[in-house]
């Protein structure tokens, strides 16, 4: 069957509200920056397909509302996620502190082997920085997660971050596939066929 991609990875963006999750996603999916985004309500996602080692990988990236109050909805999407981006704002100490909370959230709701990555966004705003890169790195090391400082506005590292995450997921998956004989992997989405109803008339068949 014709498939337009080899794998489908579901990624999730979480982090405090206003750290720039939507902008990061917009930068990655549209390669553009929009300063007029409003707060994300509910849930949205964007798609981008990348190529890794000759495989087409469709990234379905879910963007969530940052406010903790919406956790009930967002956690529903934790489970299906294969990779999670934790985003904080380098000019906002609190958002950095909360990364720990978010990680706890992940541990609670996401599958155990989900790939994670920490992004310190808004790294173009050096003059208003309150969280040093070292602290970010330190935290990442603490949790054994990869870390990058990004800027959606200046297009720094956004692409790299997602590709790194996707690569990690793929690496993990490849390993899994080696160990298990099943060639089909969980990343492939089976696309349903159109289900059309028959148009029906009462017909007399002369055989009956």
């Amino acid at each position: 069957m014709a498939k337009t991609y080899d794998f489908l990875f579901k990624l999730l963006l979480i982090g405090d509200s206003g750290v720039g999750k939507t902008c990061v996603l917009f930068r990655f999916s549209e390669d553009a920056f929009n300063s007029t985004f409003i707060s994300t309500i509910g849930i949205d996602f964007k798609i981008r397909t990348i190529e890794l080692d000759g495989k087409k990988i469709k990234l379905q990236i879910w963007d969530t509302a940052g406010q903790e109050r919406f956790r009930t909805i967002t956690t529903a999407y934790y489970r299906g996620a294969m990779g999670i981006m934790l985003v904080y704002d380098i000019t906002n100490e609190k958002s950095f502190d909360n990364i720990k909370k978010w990680i706890r959230n992940i541990e609670e709701h996401a599958s155990a082997d989900v790939e994670k990555m920490i992004l310190g966004n808004k790294c173009d705003m050096e003059d208003r920085r309150t969280v040093t890169k070292e602290r970010g790195e330190q935290l990442a090391i603490e949790y054994g997660i990869k870390f990058m400082e990004t800027s959606a506005k200046a297009s720094v590292n956004v692409e790299e971050a997602f590709i790194t995450l996707a690569r990690d997921i793929k690496g993990k998956m490849d390993k899994k596939m080696e160990s298990s004989p099943n060639p089909r992997n969980q990343g492939v989405k089976v696309v349903d066929t159109q289900s059309k109803k028959s148009s029906g008339f009462s017909w007399k068949c002369n055989i009956l």
């Binding site: 069957m1 014709a2 498939k3 337009t4 991609y5 509200s17 206003g18 549209e30 390669d31 553009a32 007029t36 409003i38 707060s39 994300t40 309500i41 509910g42 849930i43 949205d44 996602f45 798609i47 981008r48 397909t49 190529e51 087409k56 469709k58 379905q60 509302a65 406010q67 109050r69 919406f70 956790r71 009930t72 909805i73 529903a76 100490e93 609190k94 920085r129 309150t130 040093t132 070292e134 692409e159 089976v190 696309v191 349903d192 066929t193 159109q194 289900s195 059309k196 109803k197 028959s198 148009s199 029906g200 008339f201 009462s202 017909w203 007399k204 068949c205 002369n206 055989i207 009956l208």
Partner: protein
């Protein structure tokens, strides 16, 4: 008109080009674009439209067809690029002809060969534009046309326009710079079609252009026979889908594999018309096999000429789609003079229109493909025989052979011997436990009248769904087997088994009798009907008002509430007739100019029948209480801000001490050192003033006061207690220790604060002119004494303030102070921001003088907090929890207000601050809930219309009575989802089916934002206004849950797109998120009203 459409097209072309570049200008493969991309198609169409507009008759109309092709031909004579393109076209021509007539494509197995790409007529129509584009000459050709516009175009034409013409040609330079490829470039995989493209496709190719704009409701009788599954009853209602999409769906695609395709297969779609040739195809998808037959008329022409469109809709009715899992028998008739005929018989016994194959073994080929497709889970019975050299052949059947399934009762129509004319009946069986059913038993005669008494239980859900009420236990067992044809086999088996004792057979016996009992079509229908009615009655009747208030009576309400009507409704400034008012609003909305007056009524801010005076009084009361509340939280805000500033400064300090000094921190330390020395807040004050940091003294003092108050709190948290402050800090700790009574404490403190703040404002005002040291010092003295009495803490402190005020004898200032806070704080956000910046920069200036040392961040706070000020003393009343929680809310509000609808003209910084004030006031009053994202969105439109903070606040409170339940803490969202599900089930069973099969229907998350914000984010502002007022009015006219019907209307509006693309929930979320602000609110509202009406009727007719 023509000009306009041309302009629109040109604009569309520009947009498309942009998008094309956005879509395809992706990193990695920036300049390659697939030729068959939808972007190209629509770009060509737009260019064509632009070129057609204003074309001189002589140029365009020499030939019969008034197209740009003739223009191009003329152009080619003079323009070299055009000539080149023309030559290229000539080369293409022979290839094209091959494919003009539908698809000529056959494949035994979809895997081995790929479908031949055909050019749709639309593509052919714009072929020259396409080719020119691919050859990168298009821009030059257009440029040529623009330069020589007088030759080809009328004066008013788009291309003759001195501005627009060149713009068009230069716009096309971009697309011409791209490379185009037939190859499946990686780009091809990049994106799913965006929502607007889906909609556009639908618009362009839909054989009935009006489908999108009309409610589908009349086409879909809801409470009739349940057509779920294979009961082929009401599919005439199938809305014509996009011709091109449909035709494309016939090709091999990602969703299904084409197993067989044959054109010019004849079908007699209706009894009274003759055989129609069409394209027969067999598809294999995840769901199973599907046989489709499409009349040639649909295959050939999508929208070539508009006149035939009406005729085409007719053909849509003829098109046949049959799911093979609904089919049990396949009757083959072979006559000597024709190729053969197949009749498909469904499980319900209904026959599909006969399919007549042309001569030449096509029937056999089809059967063979079908048989292959059925594997591994099903097979034809009897199977086709393989014959060496010949491939598959019909099984040699003998009349008496009990292995066959031939209908013995129809001897007269059966001719057995001779290959030329043989009739067969094939049964499609599932290989699931074939041993259970001896072939002899599989005899359709087992069922009376040639009708099979089984419903097509194709999925377990269906089985469970329908039967739960009668025999849940057994059904569950059955459903676990999940074999589509299981039940069929079961029933036929009954007679044979005759009650043998094995557990299996007992079970099957049980099942079959069950199915016999409730499986007859009429009882199923009846059951489903009852069930539906039951659902309607129990669950949905509460959703609508039972009295139907018509649009026409007493007067036509479609125009809504106009200015005249509004004026005529007011008698002596009183509006009495609520019923009529809401009826008008519900059916037609409010004229924009009077929204400001009408909305307060609709929201319940004003009472109907109130006099002008009443309303003015009410407004005044509301305003006062609003301002009162504001003063309360403004004081807290001040403290919070200060605290934040400290934290920020501390962080900065830490940061810069971490990385060598950059001069900022020392400054701060210097300042703090000063404080330490002076230990007086007022000194600070003076110092700040000396520095010329802030012009307004009031503001200055406020901030100083706040600062000290904050520091005090900070100090406690930091555990650093300065000597002079010991008593004060105790006070602060007290509320904390009373944590079980936290709530009461907070409110108490809030209340007392309200008075206090006023006084503080008052004091700070006074203090600047009079030298405030005395007054404040005095107050502090009082405060310190009172602090010992913890029980009366708040009231005491309040008293002390009053005393203080009296002592100073500045009573008249009191009035001022009431007003002052509001004025001062109209721009609190920006002000505070400035403050912070100033504070930092100021510190920076000072700091150069001092050598940085290793003072830690908190130590330099101490001096400030030692200073005693009125606010600091009363600051003790606030619990840290209160400060924390309000502070947190403030940050959230700040963040959201700053980014709320910045694109809308109304939201200037001034008005954003108003928004913020309203929001903060609400949150202050509802601190237990706090700010939740989305609340800003709900305030914004109210503020835009009412343009008055206090009134907006009051109306927002009214609005939140209904809306707050939708927020995460309220729990109403799940109810909405459940209702939504029931409504879809009742009113659009086909959609329900799709949602049902595609996922967990409890996750109607695509509706989440709709319900949370009353569609505010889905619509542009003007539409939001009418949406909201309709929703408010609906409560009194038709339904208190009108939002549900609007949501359903949105789904219905795009139902064809959703169904045609077989969207799952993920797709739907994406689709609607992309469609935000592109909806036709008027149409959606109308559909929504119709849906309410429909449900009302259903309930009435119970």
């Amino acid at each position: 008109m023509a000009t306009v459409s041309g302009r629109v097209a040109a604009k569309a072309a520009a947009d498309r080009q942009k998008r094309g570049q956005a879509d395809y200008g992706r990193s990695g493969h920036p300049e390659v674009c697939h030729e068959d991309s939808g972007c190209i198609r629509s770009l060509c169409a737009s260019v064509d439209a632009s070129l057609t507009q204003g074309l001189k008759k002589r140029v365009g109309g020499l030939l019969k067809s008034y197209t740009t092709a003739s223009l191009f031909k003329q152009c080619a004579k003079q323009c070299t690029p055009a000539l080149l393109v023309a030559q290229k076209l000539l080369k293409l021509k022979p290839k094209l002809r091959m494919h003009t007539f539908g698809v000529i494509f056959e494949s035994k197995n979809g895997d081995s060969s790929r479908p031949v790409m055909i050019l749709s007529p639309l593509v052919q129509k714009h072929l020259w534009i396409r080719t020119a584009l691919f050859e990168k000459h298009l821009a030059k050709i257009i440029e040529h046309l623009v330069e020589n516009n007088s030759k080809y175009y009328e004066k008013e034409a788009l291309l003759a326009d001195p501005v627009d013409g060149p713009i068009l040609s230069s716009l096309l330079v971009g697309p011409c710079a791209l490379d185009y490829s037939k190859m499946k470039t990686p780009d091809h995989y990049w994106t799913d079609p965006p929502a607007d493209e889906l909609v556009q496709r639908h618009r362009i190719h839909s054989s009935n252009p009006a489908t999108l704009n009309q409610p589908q409701s009349p086409k879909r009788p809801s409470l009739q026979i349940n057509k779920r599954g294979g009961s082929t009853t009401s599919d005439e209602g199938r809305v014509p889908m996009s011709a091109r999409d449909y035709v494309e769906s016939l090709h091999q695609n990602s969703k299904s594999t084409l197993l067989y395709g044959k054109n010019n297969v004849l079908v007699q779609p209706k009894e009274d018309i003759e055989l129609v040739p069409g394209y027969l195809s067999l598809h294999q998808g995840v769901e199973g096999l599907t046989i489709k037959w499409t009349p040639n008329q649909l295959m050939n022409g999508c929208s070539e000429d508009s006149e035939s469109e009406t005729d085409k809709s007719l053909y849509w009715d003829y098109a046949v789609t049959v799911h093979l899992d609904e089919i049990v028998y396949l009757h083959c008739h072979q006559q000597p003079d024709s190729g053969g005929t197949i009749v498909l018989v469904g499980q319900d016994g209904v026959q599909r229109p006969p399919i007549h194959f042309p001569k030449g073994g096509h029937l056999l080929a089809f059967l063979s493909c079908l048989e292959n497709g059925l594997l591994p889970h099903g097979q034809l019975d009897p199977p086709l025989w393989s014959q060496r050299g010949k491939g598959k052949v019909f099984p040699k059947l003998r009349r008496k052979n009990s292995q066959t399934n031939i209908q013995k009762s129809q001897d007269d129509t059966q001719i057995f011997d001779g290959e030329e004319a043989t009739d067969y009946v094939f049964r499609i069986v599932s290989t699931f436990k074939p041993e259970l059913v001896p072939q002899e038993l599989v005899d359709p005669k087992a069922t009376p009248n040639g009708k099979f008494t089984f419903m097509p239980w194709t999925t377990k859900e269906r089985a469970r769904h329908k039967l739960t009420r009668s025999q849940p236990a057994i059904v569950q067992q059955v459903s676990t087997t999940s074999a589509p044809y299981f039940t069929t086999q079961m029933t036929t088996q009954v007679s044979a088994l005759g009650g043998t004792g094995s557990p299996t057979s007992l079970f099957t016996l049980c099942c079959s009798s069950l199915f016999k009992y409730c499986g007859t079509p009429c009882s199923i229908t009846g059951l489903a009907h009852c069930r539906h009615l039951h659902t309607v009655r129990t669950h949905l009747s509460g959703l609508v008002n039972h009295a139907i208030i018509p649009c026409e009576e007493p007067s036509d309400a479609t125009d809504g509430l106009t200015v005249e009507k509004w004026q005529s409704m007011q008698q002596n400034g009183k509006v009495h007739n609520q019923e009529e008012l809401v009826r008008l609003v519900y059916y037609g909305g409010v004229t924009h100019e009077i929204r400001k007056e009408v909305w307060p009524y609709l929201l319940g801010h004003y009472q109907y029948g109130s006099s002008e005076e009443d309303r003015a009084n009410h407004d005044e009361v509301v305003r006062q209480s609003y301002e009162q509340t504001m003063t309360e939280w403004l004081a807290v805000e001040a403290i919070v801000k200060q605290r934040d500033r400290e934290i920020q400064a501390a962080n900065l300090a830490k940061l810069s001490s971490d990385n060598s000094f950059d001069g900022q921190i020392p400054l701060h330390r210097e300042a703090s050192n000063d404080h330490e020395l002076d230990n007086e807040v007022f000194e600070d004050d003076g110092e700040y003033l000396q520095n010329g940091e802030v012009d307004e003294k009031i503001k200055m003092q406020e901030s100083v006061d706040e600062e000290s108050a904050n520091q005090e709190v900070k100090e406690i948290t930091d555990g650093i207690i300065a000597q002079e402050k010991i008593d004060t800090s105790q006070t602060t700790e007290l509320p904390r220790s009373k944590s079980p009574r936290q709530d009461t404490c907070e409110t108490e403190s809030g209340r007392s604060l309200s008075e206090n703040t006023e006084d503080f404002e008052c004091i700070s005002q006074k203090s600047s002119p009079h030298g405030s040291d005395e007054g404040i010092g005095h107050l502090c003295g009082n405060e310190v004494e009172n602090d010992d009495d913890t029980e009366n803490n708040s009231s005491e402190s309040c008293q002390s303030c009053k005393t203080e005020r009296e002592i100073n004898g500045n009573v008249e200032l009191d009035d001022q102070s009431r007003i002052k806070p509001i004025e001062v704080n109209t721009f609190p956000g920006s002000q505070e921001r400035d403050d912070v910046e100033e504070a930092i920069s100021n510190q920076g200036e000072q700091g150069g003088l001092i050598v940085p040392d290793s003072l830690d961040a908190s130590s330099h706070l101490t001096p400030d907090s030692t200073a005693v000020s009125p606010v600091s003393s009363s600051g003790g009343v606030y619990s840290t929890e209160l400060l924390d929680s309000f502070g947190l809310n403030l940050h959230r509000i700040e963040k959201d207000v700053q980014r709320c609808d910045r694109n809308y003209f109304y939201f200037t910084p001034t008005n954003l601050d108003k928004l913020r004030n309203v929001m903060c006031t609400y949150v202050w009053e509802h601190l237990e809930v706090g700010y939740v994202q989305g609340m800003c969105d709900l305030v914004a439109p109210l503020l835009v219309i009412l343009d008055d903070e206090a009134k907006t606040y009051s109306c927002f409170c009214e609005l939140m009575k209904r809306m707050s339940k939708n927020f995460p803490h309220g729990g109403a969202m799940d109810t909405h989802f459940a209702n939504m599900r029931s409504l879809i089930q009742i009113l659009d069973s086909e959609m329900f089916e799709l949602m049902h099969q595609n996922g967990d229907y409890t996750h109607f998350y695509f509706c989440y934002r709709w319900f949370l914000l009353d569609f505010k984010r889905e619509l542009v502002y003007d539409d939001t206004f009418s949406m909201w007022e309709t929703i408010w009015a609906a409560k009194h006219v038709s339904s208190g849950y009108f939002v549900l019907f609007v949501a359903l209307a949105l789904v219905e509006y795009y139902r064809d797109i959703i169904l045609d693309n077989n969207m799952d929930f993920t797709d739907i979320i994406k689709f609607f998120n992309e469609m935000a602000e592109h909806h036709d609110a008027k149409a959606v509202l109308k559909i929504g009203r119709d849906l309410v009406f429909k449900l009302q009727n259903l309930i009435e007719n119970k």
